[in-house]
Amino acid sequence: MNTSLPVFDVRSLQVVRGGSLILDVPSLVVAEGEILVLIVPNGAGKSTLLQTLSALVKPSRGEVFFRGKKIGEEIPLLQYRRRLAMVLQEPLLFDTTVYNNVASGLKIRGMKRNEIEQIAAKALERFGIAHLRDRSTRTLSGGEARRVSIARAFATNPEVLLLDEPFSALDPIMRETLLEDLEKVLRETRMTTIFVTHDRMEAIRIATRLGVMNAGEILQTGSPDEVMNHPVNEFVASLVGVETILKGKVTRKNNQTFVAEVSGQEIGAIGDPDLGERISLCIRPENVSLSTTDSCGPRPEVNAFPATVEKIMAMGFYQKLHLNCSFPLVAFATSRTLSDFLLREGDHVLACFEAKDVHVIRDAACDTSRLR
Protein backbone atom coordinates (compact mmCIF):
# COMPACT_ATOMS: atom_id res chain seq x y z
CA MET A 1 0.00 0.00 0.00
CA ASN A 2 1.36 3.37 -1.02
CA THR A 3 1.30 5.50 2.10
CA SER A 4 2.53 8.67 0.49
CA LEU A 5 -0.63 9.09 -1.54
CA PRO A 6 -3.51 10.65 0.32
CA VAL A 7 -6.33 8.25 1.10
CA PHE A 8 -8.92 10.61 -0.30
CA ASP A 9 -8.37 13.36 -2.82
CA VAL A 10 -11.62 15.11 -3.63
CA ARG A 11 -11.72 17.55 -6.53
CA SER A 12 -14.50 19.90 -7.50
CA LEU A 13 -17.10 17.61 -6.02
CA GLN A 14 -20.68 18.77 -6.48
CA VAL A 15 -24.00 17.06 -5.95
CA VAL A 16 -27.16 18.60 -7.32
CA ARG A 17 -30.57 17.37 -6.29
CA GLY A 18 -33.92 18.76 -7.21
CA GLY A 19 -32.27 21.71 -8.90
CA SER A 20 -30.29 22.86 -5.86
CA LEU A 21 -26.65 22.36 -5.02
CA ILE A 22 -26.59 20.31 -1.84
CA LEU A 23 -22.90 19.48 -1.76
CA ASP A 24 -20.07 21.68 -2.97
CA VAL A 25 -16.54 20.63 -2.03
CA PRO A 26 -13.87 22.09 -4.31
CA SER A 27 -11.11 20.27 -2.51
CA LEU A 28 -10.60 17.87 0.35
CA VAL A 29 -7.58 15.75 1.14
CA VAL A 30 -7.52 13.05 3.80
CA ALA A 31 -4.19 11.52 4.76
CA GLU A 32 -3.40 8.03 5.97
CA GLY A 33 -4.13 7.43 9.64
CA GLU A 34 -5.94 10.72 10.04
CA ILE A 35 -9.07 11.04 12.12
CA LEU A 36 -10.93 13.85 10.40
CA VAL A 37 -13.90 15.09 12.36
CA LEU A 38 -16.38 17.38 10.66
CA ILE A 39 -18.56 19.54 12.87
CA VAL A 40 -21.87 19.99 11.08
CA PRO A 41 -24.66 21.93 12.76
CA ASN A 42 -27.45 20.36 10.75
CA GLY A 43 -28.04 17.62 8.24
CA ALA A 44 -27.50 19.54 5.05
CA GLY A 45 -24.83 17.92 3.00
CA LYS A 46 -23.02 15.80 5.57
CA SER A 47 -24.71 12.54 4.72
CA THR A 48 -24.31 13.27 1.04
CA LEU A 49 -20.57 13.80 1.48
CA LEU A 50 -20.11 10.47 3.22
CA GLN A 51 -22.38 8.71 0.75
CA THR A 52 -20.44 10.15 -2.17
CA LEU A 53 -17.15 9.10 -0.63
CA SER A 54 -18.43 5.58 -0.19
CA ALA A 55 -19.75 5.49 -3.76
CA LEU A 56 -23.39 5.13 -2.70
CA VAL A 57 -24.29 8.35 -4.45
CA LYS A 58 -23.02 9.46 -7.81
CA PRO A 59 -21.70 13.03 -7.85
CA SER A 60 -23.14 15.45 -10.38
CA ARG A 61 -19.69 16.87 -11.01
CA GLY A 62 -16.15 16.30 -9.83
CA GLU A 63 -14.02 13.32 -8.92
CA VAL A 64 -12.93 11.37 -5.91
CA PHE A 65 -9.54 9.71 -5.94
CA PHE A 66 -8.91 6.87 -3.54
CA ARG A 67 -5.20 6.32 -3.05
CA GLY A 68 -4.58 7.95 -6.38
CA LYS A 69 -7.14 5.92 -8.31
CA LYS A 70 -10.34 7.47 -9.53
CA ILE A 71 -13.34 5.67 -8.13
CA GLY A 72 -15.87 4.51 -10.66
CA GLU A 73 -13.24 4.41 -13.41
CA GLU A 74 -9.97 2.98 -12.17
CA ILE A 75 -11.54 1.09 -9.32
CA PRO A 76 -14.78 -0.84 -9.86
CA LEU A 77 -17.48 0.35 -7.49
CA LEU A 78 -18.26 -2.92 -5.73
CA GLN A 79 -14.62 -3.64 -5.02
CA TYR A 80 -14.17 -0.10 -3.76
CA ARG A 81 -17.15 -0.26 -1.41
CA ARG A 82 -15.74 -3.40 0.15
CA ARG A 83 -12.62 -1.56 1.16
CA LEU A 84 -14.53 0.97 3.23
CA ALA A 85 -17.00 0.70 6.05
CA MET A 86 -19.74 3.13 6.94
CA VAL A 87 -21.76 3.47 10.11
CA LEU A 88 -24.99 5.42 9.72
CA GLN A 89 -26.88 7.56 12.18
CA GLU A 90 -29.35 4.85 13.21
CA PRO A 91 -27.86 1.45 13.99
CA LEU A 92 -30.00 -0.24 11.27
CA LEU A 93 -29.29 -3.71 12.52
CA PHE A 94 -30.70 -6.85 10.91
CA ASP A 95 -33.50 -8.70 12.60
CA THR A 96 -31.37 -11.60 13.84
CA THR A 97 -28.68 -12.26 16.46
CA VAL A 98 -25.84 -9.90 17.31
CA TYR A 99 -23.38 -12.44 15.94
CA ASN A 100 -25.15 -12.66 12.60
CA ASN A 101 -25.12 -8.90 12.32
CA VAL A 102 -21.42 -8.60 13.00
CA ALA A 103 -20.75 -11.46 10.59
CA SER A 104 -23.01 -10.07 7.85
CA GLY A 105 -20.32 -8.06 6.11
CA LEU A 106 -18.14 -11.12 6.01
CA LYS A 107 -20.88 -13.36 4.70
CA ILE A 108 -21.48 -10.86 1.95
CA ARG A 109 -17.84 -11.19 0.95
CA GLY A 110 -18.32 -14.94 0.73
CA MET A 111 -15.83 -15.90 3.40
CA LYS A 112 -15.71 -19.38 4.89
CA ARG A 113 -17.55 -20.29 8.05
CA ASN A 114 -14.56 -20.72 10.36
CA GLU A 115 -12.82 -17.61 9.05
CA ILE A 116 -15.95 -15.64 9.76
CA GLU A 117 -16.15 -17.13 13.24
CA GLN A 118 -12.64 -15.99 14.12
CA ILE A 119 -12.98 -12.47 12.81
CA ALA A 120 -16.47 -11.89 14.17
CA ALA A 121 -15.49 -13.16 17.61
CA LYS A 122 -12.58 -10.74 17.68
CA ALA A 123 -14.77 -7.81 16.70
CA LEU A 124 -17.33 -8.71 19.36
CA GLU A 125 -14.56 -8.86 21.93
CA ARG A 126 -13.07 -5.57 20.88
CA PHE A 127 -16.27 -3.64 21.33
CA GLY A 128 -17.24 -5.33 24.55
CA ILE A 129 -20.31 -7.13 23.24
CA ALA A 130 -19.10 -10.72 23.24
CA HIS A 131 -21.60 -11.52 25.98
CA LEU A 132 -24.47 -10.37 23.69
CA ARG A 133 -23.50 -12.71 20.90
CA ASP A 134 -26.65 -14.78 20.69
CA ARG A 135 -29.12 -12.10 21.63
CA SER A 136 -31.74 -10.86 19.23
CA THR A 137 -31.07 -7.29 18.16
CA ARG A 138 -34.62 -6.43 19.08
CA THR A 139 -33.69 -6.67 22.76
CA LEU A 140 -30.67 -4.36 22.73
CA SER A 141 -30.39 -0.97 24.38
CA GLY A 142 -29.41 2.09 22.33
CA GLY A 143 -25.77 1.92 23.36
CA GLU A 144 -25.50 -1.81 22.77
CA ALA A 145 -27.03 -1.41 19.32
CA ARG A 146 -24.46 1.24 18.40
CA ARG A 147 -21.66 -1.05 19.48
CA VAL A 148 -23.01 -3.81 17.28
CA SER A 149 -23.30 -1.41 14.38
CA ILE A 150 -19.68 -0.31 14.77
CA ALA A 151 -18.42 -3.85 15.37
CA ARG A 152 -20.19 -4.90 12.18
CA ALA A 153 -18.32 -2.22 10.26
CA PHE A 154 -14.99 -3.07 11.86
CA ALA A 155 -15.28 -6.76 11.25
CA THR A 156 -14.90 -6.19 7.52
CA ASN A 157 -11.38 -4.88 8.13
CA PRO A 158 -11.83 -1.67 6.17
CA GLU A 159 -9.12 0.70 5.07
CA VAL A 160 -11.30 3.68 5.91
CA LEU A 161 -14.08 4.09 8.43
CA LEU A 162 -16.86 6.60 7.81
CA LEU A 163 -19.15 7.48 10.69
CA ASP A 164 -22.29 9.56 10.32
CA GLU A 165 -23.22 10.94 13.75
CA PRO A 166 -23.00 7.49 15.29
CA PHE A 167 -23.70 8.63 18.85
CA SER A 168 -26.61 10.96 18.30
CA ALA A 169 -29.67 10.47 20.53
CA LEU A 170 -27.67 8.76 23.27
CA ASP A 171 -27.37 10.02 26.82
CA PRO A 172 -24.08 11.83 27.66
CA ILE A 173 -22.62 9.05 29.80
CA MET A 174 -23.20 6.47 27.09
CA ARG A 175 -21.72 8.81 24.52
CA GLU A 176 -18.69 9.30 26.68
CA THR A 177 -18.11 5.58 27.13
CA LEU A 178 -18.63 4.71 23.49
CA LEU A 179 -16.41 7.56 22.37
CA GLU A 180 -13.64 6.42 24.66
CA ASP A 181 -13.81 2.86 23.41
CA LEU A 182 -13.97 3.96 19.80
CA GLU A 183 -11.03 6.28 20.22
CA LYS A 184 -8.98 3.49 21.72
CA VAL A 185 -9.69 1.17 18.81
CA LEU A 186 -9.04 3.86 16.21
CA ARG A 187 -5.68 4.68 17.71
CA GLU A 188 -4.71 1.04 18.06
CA THR A 189 -5.59 0.21 14.51
CA ARG A 190 -4.46 3.57 13.13
CA MET A 191 -7.65 3.58 11.13
CA THR A 192 -8.19 6.42 8.68
CA THR A 193 -11.48 7.85 9.83
CA ILE A 194 -13.95 10.47 8.76
CA PHE A 195 -16.35 11.25 11.57
CA VAL A 196 -19.28 13.62 11.31
CA THR A 197 -20.96 15.10 14.38
CA HIS A 198 -22.73 18.18 15.65
CA ASP A 199 -21.21 17.84 19.10
CA ARG A 200 -18.00 19.85 19.29
CA MET A 201 -16.86 18.22 22.50
CA GLU A 202 -16.84 14.89 20.77
CA ALA A 203 -15.03 16.47 17.86
CA ILE A 204 -12.28 18.04 19.89
CA ARG A 205 -11.84 14.85 21.86
CA ILE A 206 -11.21 12.46 19.03
CA ALA A 207 -9.95 14.50 16.09
CA THR A 208 -6.44 14.64 14.73
CA ARG A 209 -7.84 17.03 12.16
CA LEU A 210 -10.90 19.18 12.51
CA GLY A 211 -13.28 20.56 9.93
CA VAL A 212 -16.42 22.65 9.90
CA MET A 213 -19.18 22.11 7.40
CA ASN A 214 -22.42 23.91 6.67
CA ALA A 215 -24.97 23.89 3.89
CA GLY A 216 -22.95 21.41 1.90
CA GLU A 217 -19.72 23.37 2.02
CA ILE A 218 -16.58 22.78 4.04
CA LEU A 219 -15.75 26.11 5.61
CA GLN A 220 -12.44 25.29 7.24
CA THR A 221 -10.14 22.37 7.97
CA GLY A 222 -7.01 22.25 10.04
CA SER A 223 -5.56 20.97 13.26
CA PRO A 224 -7.98 21.19 16.17
CA ASP A 225 -5.95 23.99 17.68
CA GLU A 226 -5.99 25.97 14.46
CA VAL A 227 -9.69 25.73 13.90
CA MET A 228 -10.67 26.24 17.51
CA ASN A 229 -8.53 29.26 18.10
CA HIS A 230 -8.36 30.72 14.64
CA PRO A 231 -11.75 30.30 13.04
CA VAL A 232 -11.89 31.93 9.63
CA ASN A 233 -15.25 33.56 10.15
CA GLU A 234 -17.93 34.17 12.74
CA PHE A 235 -20.00 31.20 11.75
CA VAL A 236 -17.13 28.81 12.22
CA ALA A 237 -16.22 30.61 15.37
CA SER A 238 -19.64 30.06 16.86
CA LEU A 239 -19.56 26.41 15.88
CA VAL A 240 -16.22 25.72 17.47
CA GLY A 241 -17.21 27.25 20.71
CA VAL A 242 -16.16 30.86 20.49
CA GLU A 243 -18.81 32.47 22.59
CA THR A 244 -17.64 36.05 22.36
CA ILE A 245 -17.42 37.75 18.99
CA LEU A 246 -16.97 41.52 19.12
CA LYS A 247 -17.00 44.12 16.40
CA GLY A 248 -14.37 46.86 16.71
CA LYS A 249 -12.24 49.43 14.96
CA VAL A 250 -8.44 49.51 14.94
CA THR A 251 -7.32 52.66 16.69
CA ARG A 252 -3.60 52.08 17.37
CA LYS A 253 -0.93 49.92 15.89
CA ASN A 254 2.49 48.89 17.06
CA ASN A 255 4.70 46.37 15.26
CA GLN A 256 2.79 43.10 15.53
CA THR A 257 0.24 44.30 18.06
CA PHE A 258 -2.66 46.66 17.87
CA VAL A 259 -5.49 48.08 19.87
CA ALA A 260 -9.12 47.98 18.84
CA GLU A 261 -11.91 50.07 20.26
CA VAL A 262 -14.99 48.10 21.20
CA SER A 263 -17.96 49.80 22.82
CA GLY A 264 -15.78 52.48 24.29
CA GLN A 265 -13.22 50.04 25.67
CA GLU A 266 -9.81 49.26 24.29
CA ILE A 267 -8.79 45.66 23.66
CA GLY A 268 -5.23 44.70 22.91
CA ALA A 269 -4.59 41.92 20.39
CA ILE A 270 -1.89 40.46 18.18
CA GLY A 271 -2.02 40.98 14.44
CA ASP A 272 -1.42 43.38 11.59
CA PRO A 273 -4.65 44.96 10.42
CA ASP A 274 -4.84 48.45 8.95
CA LEU A 275 -5.52 51.52 11.02
CA GLY A 276 -9.17 52.35 11.07
CA GLU A 277 -10.11 48.91 9.79
CA ARG A 278 -13.26 47.30 11.03
CA ILE A 279 -12.54 43.84 12.45
CA SER A 280 -14.12 41.09 14.55
CA LEU A 281 -12.49 39.86 17.71
CA CYS A 282 -13.08 36.28 18.92
CA ILE A 283 -12.47 35.33 22.52
CA ARG A 284 -12.94 31.74 23.74
CA PRO A 285 -14.55 31.51 27.17
CA GLU A 286 -11.87 29.08 28.38
CA ASN A 287 -9.34 31.85 27.93
CA VAL A 288 -11.14 34.28 30.23
CA SER A 289 -10.10 34.23 33.82
CA LEU A 290 -11.79 36.04 36.64
CA SER A 291 -10.39 37.95 39.59
CA THR A 292 -12.09 39.40 42.60
CA THR A 293 -9.14 41.70 43.22
CA ASP A 294 -7.94 44.75 41.31
CA SER A 295 -5.43 42.94 39.22
CA CYS A 296 -5.30 39.97 36.90
CA GLY A 297 -2.07 38.64 38.24
CA PRO A 298 1.59 39.18 37.44
CA ARG A 299 1.44 39.56 33.64
CA PRO A 300 0.94 43.17 32.53
CA GLU A 301 -0.03 42.63 28.86
CA VAL A 302 -3.29 41.29 29.90
CA ASN A 303 -6.60 42.83 28.96
CA ALA A 304 -8.46 43.56 32.17
CA PHE A 305 -11.99 44.84 32.37
CA PRO A 306 -14.27 45.39 35.28
CA ALA A 307 -17.41 43.46 34.64
CA THR A 308 -20.81 42.71 36.10
CA VAL A 309 -22.04 39.16 36.18
CA GLU A 310 -25.29 39.37 34.27
CA LYS A 311 -26.23 35.75 34.06
CA ILE A 312 -24.96 32.41 35.27
CA MET A 313 -26.07 29.34 33.29
CA ALA A 314 -25.52 25.80 34.42
CA MET A 315 -24.03 23.76 31.57
CA GLY A 316 -23.70 20.41 33.28
CA PHE A 317 -20.04 20.03 34.16
CA TYR A 318 -19.34 23.73 34.23
CA GLN A 319 -21.06 27.06 34.46
CA LYS A 320 -21.29 29.68 31.77
CA LEU A 321 -21.06 33.29 32.89
CA HIS A 322 -22.38 36.14 30.76
CA LEU A 323 -20.42 39.24 31.75
CA ASN A 324 -20.98 42.84 30.90
CA CYS A 325 -17.80 44.85 30.42
CA SER A 326 -19.59 47.45 28.34
CA PHE A 327 -19.29 44.73 25.75
CA PRO A 328 -20.62 41.22 26.29
CA LEU A 329 -18.08 38.62 27.35
CA VAL A 330 -18.61 34.94 28.09
CA ALA A 331 -16.51 33.06 30.57
CA PHE A 332 -16.54 29.56 32.01
CA ALA A 333 -16.16 28.64 35.62
CA THR A 334 -16.53 25.51 37.60
CA SER A 335 -19.20 25.35 40.27
CA ARG A 336 -16.37 25.09 42.77
CA THR A 337 -14.88 28.36 41.65
CA LEU A 338 -18.23 30.08 41.91
CA SER A 339 -18.88 28.84 45.39
CA ASP A 340 -15.31 29.56 46.53
CA PHE A 341 -15.59 33.12 45.34
CA LEU A 342 -19.23 33.38 46.31
CA LEU A 343 -20.03 34.72 42.86
CA ARG A 344 -23.63 35.41 42.06
CA GLU A 345 -25.54 37.26 39.40
CA GLY A 346 -25.13 40.98 39.85
CA ASP A 347 -21.67 40.77 41.40
CA HIS A 348 -18.65 42.69 40.13
CA VAL A 349 -15.51 40.92 38.97
CA LEU A 350 -12.43 41.65 36.96
CA ALA A 351 -12.35 39.78 33.64
CA CYS A 352 -8.90 39.00 32.26
CA PHE A 353 -7.67 37.58 29.00
CA GLU A 354 -4.39 37.73 27.17
CA ALA A 355 -3.82 39.51 23.91
CA LYS A 356 -2.63 36.34 22.28
CA ASP A 357 -5.97 34.70 23.02
CA VAL A 358 -7.85 37.31 21.05
CA HIS A 359 -8.43 35.96 17.57
CA VAL A 360 -8.90 38.45 14.80
CA ILE A 361 -11.25 38.05 11.86
CA ARG A 362 -10.76 40.75 9.31
CA ASP A 363 -13.86 42.26 7.78
CA ALA A 364 -13.49 40.68 4.36
CA ALA A 365 -14.14 37.25 5.85
CA CYS A 366 -16.71 38.43 8.31
CA ASP A 367 -19.94 37.30 6.78
CA THR A 368 -20.98 33.75 7.47
CA SER A 369 -21.16 32.51 3.91
CA ARG A 370 -18.48 31.57 1.45
CA LEU A 371 -14.86 30.97 2.30
CA ARG A 372 -12.30 31.01 -0.46
Binding site: Q51, S54, A85, L88, E90, F94, A153
Partner: protein
Protein backbone atom coordinates in the same frame (compact mmCIF):
# COMPACT_ATOMS: atom_id res chain seq x y z
CA UNK B 1 -78.38 -28.06 11.63
CA UNK B 2 -78.48 -31.81 11.50
CA UNK B 3 -77.56 -31.68 7.86
CA UNK B 4 -74.25 -30.13 8.94
CA UNK B 5 -73.85 -32.77 11.61
CA UNK B 6 -74.48 -35.40 8.95
CA UNK B 7 -71.83 -33.78 6.85
CA UNK B 8 -69.28 -33.74 9.63
CA UNK B 9 -69.96 -37.39 10.40
CA UNK B 10 -69.55 -38.26 6.76
CA UNK B 11 -66.32 -36.28 6.56
CA UNK B 12 -64.91 -38.14 9.51
CA UNK B 13 -65.93 -41.44 7.98
CA UNK B 14 -64.44 -40.64 4.59
CA UNK B 15 -61.14 -39.60 6.13
CA UNK B 16 -60.82 -42.44 8.58
CA UNK B 17 -61.63 -45.05 5.97
CA UNK B 18 -59.12 -43.45 3.58
CA UNK B 19 -61.74 -43.39 0.87
CA UNK B 20 -59.45 -43.48 -2.21
CA UNK B 21 -61.43 -41.01 -4.25
CA UNK B 22 -61.53 -38.42 -1.48
CA UNK B 23 -57.87 -39.01 -0.74
CA UNK B 24 -57.05 -38.49 -4.40
CA UNK B 25 -59.07 -35.30 -4.55
CA UNK B 26 -57.42 -33.95 -1.40
CA UNK B 27 -53.94 -34.81 -2.59
CA UNK B 28 -54.59 -33.14 -5.92
CA UNK B 29 -55.87 -30.01 -4.16
CA UNK B 30 -52.60 -29.81 -2.22
CA UNK B 31 -50.49 -30.52 -5.31
CA UNK B 32 -52.22 -27.96 -7.51
CA UNK B 33 -52.59 -25.15 -4.99
CA UNK B 34 -49.16 -25.85 -3.50
CA UNK B 35 -47.45 -25.61 -6.87
CA UNK B 36 -49.39 -22.51 -7.81
CA UNK B 37 -48.44 -20.85 -4.52
CA UNK B 38 -44.77 -21.73 -4.98
CA UNK B 39 -44.74 -20.24 -8.46
CA UNK B 40 -46.50 -17.13 -7.22
CA UNK B 41 -43.93 -16.80 -4.44
CA UNK B 42 -40.97 -16.94 -6.76
CA UNK B 43 -42.43 -14.42 -9.19
CA UNK B 44 -44.28 -12.33 -6.63
CA UNK B 45 -41.46 -11.81 -4.14
CA UNK B 46 -38.90 -10.95 -6.81
CA UNK B 47 -41.16 -8.54 -8.68
CA UNK B 48 -42.66 -7.04 -5.53
CA UNK B 49 -39.28 -6.40 -3.92
CA UNK B 50 -37.79 -5.02 -7.13
CA UNK B 51 -40.64 -2.60 -7.74
CA UNK B 52 -40.48 -1.52 -4.10
CA UNK B 53 -36.82 -0.62 -4.42
CA UNK B 54 -36.58 0.89 -7.88
CA UNK B 55 -37.62 4.24 -9.24
CA UNK B 56 -38.62 4.10 -12.89
CA UNK B 57 -40.97 6.03 -15.15
CA UNK B 58 -44.52 4.73 -14.90
CA UNK B 59 -43.88 3.16 -11.51
CA UNK B 60 -47.12 4.49 -10.10
CA UNK B 61 -49.08 2.83 -12.89
CA UNK B 62 -47.35 -0.48 -12.25
CA UNK B 63 -48.11 -0.27 -8.53
CA UNK B 64 -51.79 0.47 -9.28
CA UNK B 65 -51.90 -2.51 -11.62
CA UNK B 66 -50.45 -4.76 -8.95
CA UNK B 67 -52.93 -3.51 -6.38
CA UNK B 68 -55.81 -4.00 -8.82
CA UNK B 69 -54.50 -7.47 -9.57
CA UNK B 70 -54.90 -8.35 -5.93
CA UNK B 71 -58.65 -8.02 -6.35
CA UNK B 72 -58.76 -9.81 -9.70
CA UNK B 73 -61.87 -12.01 -9.82
CA UNK B 74 -60.68 -15.61 -10.14
CA UNK B 75 -63.54 -16.43 -12.46
CA UNK B 76 -62.32 -13.77 -14.90
CA UNK B 77 -58.86 -15.29 -14.80
CA UNK B 78 -60.39 -18.69 -15.47
CA UNK B 79 -62.27 -17.40 -18.46
CA UNK B 80 -59.26 -15.80 -20.07
CA UNK B 81 -56.97 -18.74 -19.38
CA UNK B 82 -59.56 -21.09 -20.87
CA UNK B 83 -59.89 -18.99 -23.99
CA UNK B 84 -56.13 -18.94 -24.38
CA UNK B 85 -55.76 -22.66 -23.89
CA UNK B 86 -58.61 -23.73 -26.20
CA UNK B 87 -57.42 -26.17 -28.84
CA UNK B 88 -58.01 -23.57 -31.48
CA UNK B 89 -56.86 -20.70 -29.27
CA UNK B 90 -53.48 -18.96 -29.19
CA UNK B 91 -51.89 -21.47 -26.82
CA UNK B 92 -53.92 -24.44 -27.98
CA UNK B 93 -50.89 -26.17 -29.41
CA UNK B 94 -49.76 -26.89 -25.87
CA UNK B 95 -52.81 -29.10 -25.45
CA UNK B 96 -53.09 -28.47 -21.72
CA UNK B 97 -56.72 -27.46 -21.33
CA UNK B 98 -58.59 -29.66 -18.87
CA UNK B 99 -55.41 -30.73 -17.09
CA UNK B 100 -54.09 -30.10 -13.58
CA UNK B 101 -51.31 -28.05 -15.18
CA UNK B 102 -53.88 -25.62 -16.56
CA UNK B 103 -55.31 -25.33 -13.07
CA UNK B 104 -51.87 -24.57 -11.66
CA UNK B 105 -51.40 -21.88 -14.27
CA UNK B 106 -54.76 -20.27 -13.57
CA UNK B 107 -54.21 -20.40 -9.82
CA UNK B 108 -50.72 -19.00 -10.18
CA UNK B 109 -52.15 -16.10 -12.16
CA UNK B 110 -54.60 -15.48 -9.34
CA UNK B 111 -52.08 -15.77 -6.50
CA UNK B 112 -49.15 -13.88 -8.02
CA UNK B 113 -50.61 -10.36 -7.79
CA UNK B 114 -51.59 -11.02 -4.17
CA UNK B 115 -48.08 -12.07 -3.22
CA UNK B 116 -46.57 -9.24 -5.28
CA UNK B 117 -48.77 -6.60 -3.66
CA UNK B 118 -48.06 -7.70 -0.11
CA UNK B 119 -44.33 -8.01 -0.77
CA UNK B 120 -44.31 -4.55 -2.33
CA UNK B 121 -45.93 -3.05 0.76
CA UNK B 122 -43.69 -5.01 3.12
CA UNK B 123 -40.43 -4.03 1.45
CA UNK B 124 -41.48 -0.40 1.11
CA UNK B 125 -42.03 -0.34 4.84
CA UNK B 126 -38.42 -1.16 5.60
CA UNK B 127 -36.34 1.81 6.82
CA UNK B 128 -35.17 3.86 3.86
CA UNK B 129 -31.54 3.96 4.95
CA UNK B 130 -31.34 0.19 5.42
CA UNK B 131 -30.69 -0.23 1.73
CA UNK B 132 -27.74 2.16 1.93
CA UNK B 133 -26.32 0.39 4.95
CA UNK B 134 -26.47 -2.95 3.18
CA UNK B 135 -24.74 -1.56 0.10
CA UNK B 136 -22.18 0.10 2.37
CA UNK B 137 -21.37 -3.34 3.76
CA UNK B 138 -20.29 -4.26 0.26
CA UNK B 139 -23.33 -6.16 -0.98
CA UNK B 140 -24.13 -6.67 -4.64
CA UNK B 141 -27.60 -5.60 -5.73
CA UNK B 142 -28.71 -9.23 -5.64
CA UNK B 143 -27.34 -9.75 -2.14
CA UNK B 144 -29.09 -6.57 -1.05
CA UNK B 145 -32.38 -7.81 -2.45
CA UNK B 146 -31.98 -11.10 -0.61
CA UNK B 147 -31.13 -9.45 2.70
CA UNK B 148 -34.09 -7.07 2.41
CA UNK B 149 -36.39 -9.99 1.67
CA UNK B 150 -35.11 -11.72 4.79
CA UNK B 151 -35.70 -8.56 6.80
CA UNK B 152 -39.32 -8.53 5.66
CA UNK B 153 -39.88 -12.21 6.34
CA UNK B 154 -42.73 -11.72 8.81
CA UNK B 155 -44.78 -9.87 6.23
CA UNK B 156 -43.75 -12.25 3.51
CA UNK B 157 -45.08 -15.19 5.47
CA UNK B 158 -48.37 -13.32 5.54
CA UNK B 159 -48.08 -13.08 1.76
CA UNK B 160 -47.63 -16.85 1.52
CA UNK B 161 -50.72 -17.41 3.62
CA UNK B 162 -52.73 -14.94 1.58
CA UNK B 163 -51.61 -16.44 -1.72
CA UNK B 164 -52.24 -20.00 -0.64
CA UNK B 165 -55.56 -19.10 0.95
CA UNK B 166 -56.68 -17.44 -2.24
CA UNK B 167 -56.09 -20.49 -4.40
CA UNK B 168 -56.96 -23.43 -2.17
CA UNK B 169 -60.44 -21.95 -1.90
CA UNK B 170 -60.74 -21.09 -5.59
CA UNK B 171 -63.40 -22.85 -7.62
CA UNK B 172 -64.54 -20.86 -10.66
CA UNK B 173 -61.30 -20.87 -12.60
CA UNK B 174 -60.48 -24.41 -11.49
CA UNK B 175 -63.70 -25.77 -12.97
CA UNK B 176 -63.30 -23.87 -16.20
CA UNK B 177 -59.73 -24.82 -16.97
CA UNK B 178 -59.68 -28.19 -15.25
CA UNK B 179 -63.01 -29.62 -16.32
CA UNK B 180 -63.56 -31.29 -12.95
CA UNK B 181 -62.67 -34.64 -14.46
CA UNK B 182 -63.09 -37.54 -12.07
CA UNK B 183 -59.82 -38.87 -10.74
CA UNK B 184 -57.84 -36.43 -12.87
CA UNK B 185 -58.62 -32.77 -12.39
CA UNK B 186 -61.16 -32.88 -9.62
CA UNK B 187 -60.20 -31.04 -6.45
CA UNK B 188 -61.99 -30.39 -3.17
CA UNK B 189 -63.62 -27.15 -4.26
CA UNK B 190 -64.80 -28.35 -7.67
CA UNK B 191 -66.07 -31.61 -6.18
CA UNK B 192 -68.02 -29.67 -3.57
CA UNK B 193 -69.74 -27.58 -6.23
CA UNK B 194 -70.59 -30.70 -8.22
CA UNK B 195 -72.04 -32.55 -5.26
CA UNK B 196 -74.07 -29.50 -4.27
CA UNK B 197 -75.38 -29.26 -7.81
CA UNK B 198 -76.49 -32.84 -7.60
CA UNK B 199 -78.19 -32.21 -4.34
CA UNK B 200 -75.83 -34.44 -2.34
CA UNK B 201 -75.51 -31.99 0.49
CA UNK B 202 -74.02 -34.42 2.96
CA UNK B 203 -71.12 -35.22 0.66
CA UNK B 204 -70.72 -31.54 -0.19
CA UNK B 205 -70.51 -30.62 3.46
CA UNK B 206 -68.10 -33.46 4.12
CA UNK B 207 -65.79 -32.19 1.39
CA UNK B 208 -66.12 -28.66 2.75
CA UNK B 209 -65.13 -29.85 6.19
CA UNK B 210 -62.08 -31.58 4.76
CA UNK B 211 -61.17 -28.45 2.82
CA UNK B 212 -61.48 -26.29 5.92
CA UNK B 213 -59.40 -28.75 7.90
CA UNK B 214 -56.70 -28.73 5.23
CA UNK B 215 -56.62 -24.95 5.02
CA UNK B 216 -56.50 -24.68 8.78
CA UNK B 217 -53.64 -27.16 9.22
CA UNK B 218 -51.49 -25.50 6.58
CA UNK B 219 -52.12 -22.04 7.96
CA UNK B 220 -51.38 -23.36 11.44
CA UNK B 221 -47.99 -24.54 10.26
CA UNK B 222 -47.24 -21.24 8.54
CA UNK B 223 -48.41 -19.23 11.54
CA UNK B 224 -46.14 -21.27 13.78
CA UNK B 225 -43.20 -20.35 11.59
CA UNK B 226 -44.21 -16.72 11.52
CA UNK B 227 -44.69 -16.38 15.26
CA UNK B 228 -41.53 -18.32 15.99
CA UNK B 229 -39.63 -15.79 13.88
CA UNK B 230 -41.31 -13.05 15.82
CA UNK B 231 -40.36 -14.36 19.19
CA UNK B 232 -36.65 -14.70 18.44
Amino acid sequence: MDIILEGIKKAFWLLVSFDPEVLGITLLSIKVSGSATLISLVIGITVGASVALTRFPGRRIVVSLINTGMALPPVVVGLFVTISLWRNGPLGFMGILYTPLAMIIAQAVIATPIVTGITLAAVQQLPAKLRLQILALGATRLQMLWILIKEAKLSLLAAVMAGFGGVISEVGASIMVGGNIKGYSRVLTTATVMETGRGNFDVAIALSVILLLLAYLINLALTQIQQRERRR
